[in-house]
């Protein structure tokens, strides 16, 4: 019985919060444009055509995933460069810190003006917000390799490429995955920011559009879908690590 309760606890918490929310809104007669009840949100969600939701969701996922994948592809070589060369780490790292220190919300409108209103500026915004944590974690991981293994590699006179491919990169995998977990949620944030600035589709656009016409329950419905999508993407990263890099997860035995 205890075990059962333990397993059900997260779901029960969630349901309780929804129930309290619903009850309080009804008891206190909160206007729906301030805080709609969960039931009103569900009704609003079904009022919109399911195909339309899919289109918005697909648009947001497209930006999120392209931005995410591009930042992975760019961050690994940058991290290798940072670990490998003092010169590059002295030149590239300050640049990255500047990028990271710039509030992306502030730059987003400028990027849209520069790059137009298509997919590109949205991907760039997502990419910029995700890149830094990925680079830093990967570089940290590459440097976390036990020095003895690097000595072993040197004593075998193995190539630098093999040193990275067979020792340093695998050792960075736990660090990379920690960053990927943060990164995927950041990518969703980046996509939504981009859609706030300039878009004609996507869940971010849907939230902005709904609130501007006081369809607050509909905005909440879009938000709920967004949160669900973000959680599922996070789980996807977790499952990928489990499936392909089980050794990199500290044993909970």
């Amino acid at each position: 019985m205890h075990k059962w309760l333990d397993r059900a606890a997260p779901v029960l918490t969630f349901i309780s919060i929804l129930a309290i929310w619903e009850t309080l809104c009804r008891l206190l007669a909160v206007p729906s444009f301030l805080l709609p009840t969960p039931s009103a949100i569900v009704i609003a969600a079904f009022a919109v055509d399911i195909g339309q939701w899919w289109a918005h969701l697909a648009a947001t996922l497209e930006v999120t995933l392209i931005g995410f994948v591009v930042s992975i592809l760019v961050s690994v070589p940058i991290a290798i460069a940072l670990t490998n060369s003092r010169f590059l780490s002295r030149t590239l790292l300050p640049l990255l810190v500047v990028v990271q220190s710039t509030p992306i919300v502030a730059v987003a409108p400028i990027i849209v003006v520069t790059l137009g209103a298509g997919l590109l500026p949205r991907v760039v915004i997502t990419f910029l917000i995700t890149l830094f944590p990925l680079v830093i974690s990967t570089a940290t991981g590459l440097q976390a390799t036990p020095p003895e293994l690097i000595e072993l590699s040197r004593s075998l006179r193995a190539s630098r490429a093999r040193e990275y491919w067979q020792i340093r990169l695998p050792f960075a995998v736990p660090y990379i995955f920690s960053a990927l977990k943060v990164g995927i949620t950041l990518s969703v944030i980046g996509a939504v920011i981009a859609e706030f600035v300039a878009a004609e589709k996507g869940l971010g656009y849907m939230i902005l559009f709904s609130t501007s016409s006081f369809k607050v329950p509909q905005a909440f419905a879009a938000l709920a879908i967004l949160v669900t999508a973000s959680l599922l993407l996070f789980q996807l990263v977790v499952q990928l690590q489990r499936r392909f890099f089980l050794w990199s997860i500290p044993a909970s035995r």
Partner: protein
Amino acid sequence: MTNAAGPVIELADVQQTFVSSDGTPVHALEGVSLAIGRHEFVSIIGPSGCGKSTILRLIAGLLRPSAGRVAIFDLQVIEPRDEIGMVFQKPTLLPWLNVLDNVTFPMKHKYGTVDAKDRERALELLALVGLKDFMAKRPDELSGGMQQRVAIARSLLHDPEILLMDEPFSALDALTRDEMSFELLRIWRERPKTVVFVTHSIPEALLLSDRIVVMSARPARVSEIIEVPLERPRSFETLSNPRLHELANAIREKVFSRKLAA
């Protein structure tokens, strides 16, 4: 066991100076001379940070001496050579590979592929260290002592002439440590190697070695080389041999009195 055929490893007046992070030079080794014969087991003991590991790295060709000469088989060491196998303080196995793949890793890392012969030799070595049944396990499923045995098997894969061991048992608990010492003696008997063994433990050095090199504190010099008169093969009984304790006390006195004088 001084050998007529000449030493396998020779350090002649080796000096090693590092530049520390604040720019001042640090003399790690000064005038170290040492000759080690074929299949000799030599331990190096001395205070922490006295450059014991530096000597191993010089022999391994991972460091170049600031002055003096390091030679293996009378050839000056200018880069890492195939005659060397290394065992570190920590097992440093690759957690994503199973035991067998960890043992064959040096081949994979050096040549890109592992052939059937390498695998066969790895299995022999795993049998030698008593871990054949564990070949498919991951390192984290093994105890510390077992992991270090895998590391020893890995270091023997290319059948090196010289085995460099940098405090290999110091991370293990006392019981496992004794057990591993006897394991190492057995392995060394079955696969004779020239062993250079760095340790902090005087009894361990006595139990294992033909000769013990006692180093002084920084800048490290060879303060004494002691022949170990204990008979081989050494066994569990050797540990309770009163000679071992006398010798240990004598060495301890030497190490400490020098420290107090300094």
